[in-house]
Symmetry: C2
Subunit: 198 residues, 2 copies
């Protein structure tokens, strides 16, 4: 991480309106967050996290997009999620447990992310107990989303899941290759190509 590119945040940064969807921050609280958060700008194909490394940061996407994927021992990629503008993303398992990452995070284009360091995460939760509520709702929504996805993945056909994906993430479809969509759906690119033909 090239900290030369780190910038501090403005009052009107997207991350504050994201947080204030669920809680209201006082001026002091915003000042505190401005003092511990920072934003970086990274080029396309930049690796924010590499599988195997300790995951020390949680990211908020201010602009651009990110892909989170796992590479198995046979070299097969599985895309776990995409992070787009106004989303939080990291390898949450590795971040919360401070264990080595199962996922790699790679930008899909020029991207700006707000960085929340693990120690800051802890400190911020103590300093602003309201943030517990914010993250409670954030994780609650994330859990619900994953549970619905699990249902889709065991009950729908590939074609149905592909349609849902197009429907739900039209912004992402523009930015990613079909190979990456296939690896998100859990099928080969060749098979996805044949599904599309219909």
């Amino acid at each position: 991480m090239n900290s030369a590119h780190a910038k501090s945040l403005y009052e009107d940064s997207l991350v504050f309106s994201n947080i204030q969807k669920y809680i209201v921050l006082t001026c002091e609280e915003k000042e505190f967050l401005k003092s511990v958060l920072y934003e970086i700008e990274v080029p396309p194909k930049h690796m924010l996290l590499r599988q195997g490394q300790i995951c020390r940061q949680l990211y908020f996407v201010s602009e651009g997009s990110i892909r989170a994927y796992n590479l198995d021992t046979d070299g097969k990629e599985s895309t776990i999620m995409f992070g787009i503008e106004d989303w939080w993303i990291t390898d949450m398992y590795a971040f919360t447990q401070q264990k080595s990452a199962l996922l790699s995070l790679e930008t899909l284009e020029d991207t700006r992310v707000v960085v929340l360091e693990f120690e800051v995460f802890d400190k911020a939760l103590q300093h602003i107990p309201k943030l517990e509520r914010f993250f409670r709702i954030l994780f609650q929504n994330a859990y619900v989303r994953e549970q619905l996805r699990a249902l889709d993945s065991i009950s729908l056909t590939t074609e149905e899941r592909y349609r849902k994906f197009l429907d739900k993430y039209p912004q992402i479809v523009e930015k990613v290759t079909q190979k990456q969509i296939a690896s998100y759906l859990g099928v080969t690119p060749e098979f996805l190509s044949s599904v599309k033909k219909k």
Copy 2:
């Protein structure tokens, strides 16, 4: 729900030690929770929630086990999760949004559950802000678990997922039919049977 079976909780109830894994409750806070939570005892095959109903309750399993499943329009069952002793379970999507449930919840055996009503959930979070932290960690863990499961489901073979299931939930294996395990893995019981033969 037969409220004639509702009992109030004791100080040493499992649900308090579950909550106190992550936060410390004062005596007053415990008293408050004892006044709003209650426990019910239900027989095997009892439906705690039916698909289509508004989901008004979150359950903590004190003893026994529960299966959460979805029935699609073709009559195909998909088991989303099992809830065992010391777990929280409900259709979290329907509960948090107060929408009609995608899932049904059915006991697998004689079961005792602590009931947390939706209005109480809200009230308790306001009355005991520390609970925000508790549920933040609960949902964080649930999200991580689901994310790992999503990875398994797109990257592993049925055999591998079956082995992992046996490994991870040995207590559940005793209590459920193979048909239900198959519906959790997203395959037919016939196919699971042929996988087992090896």
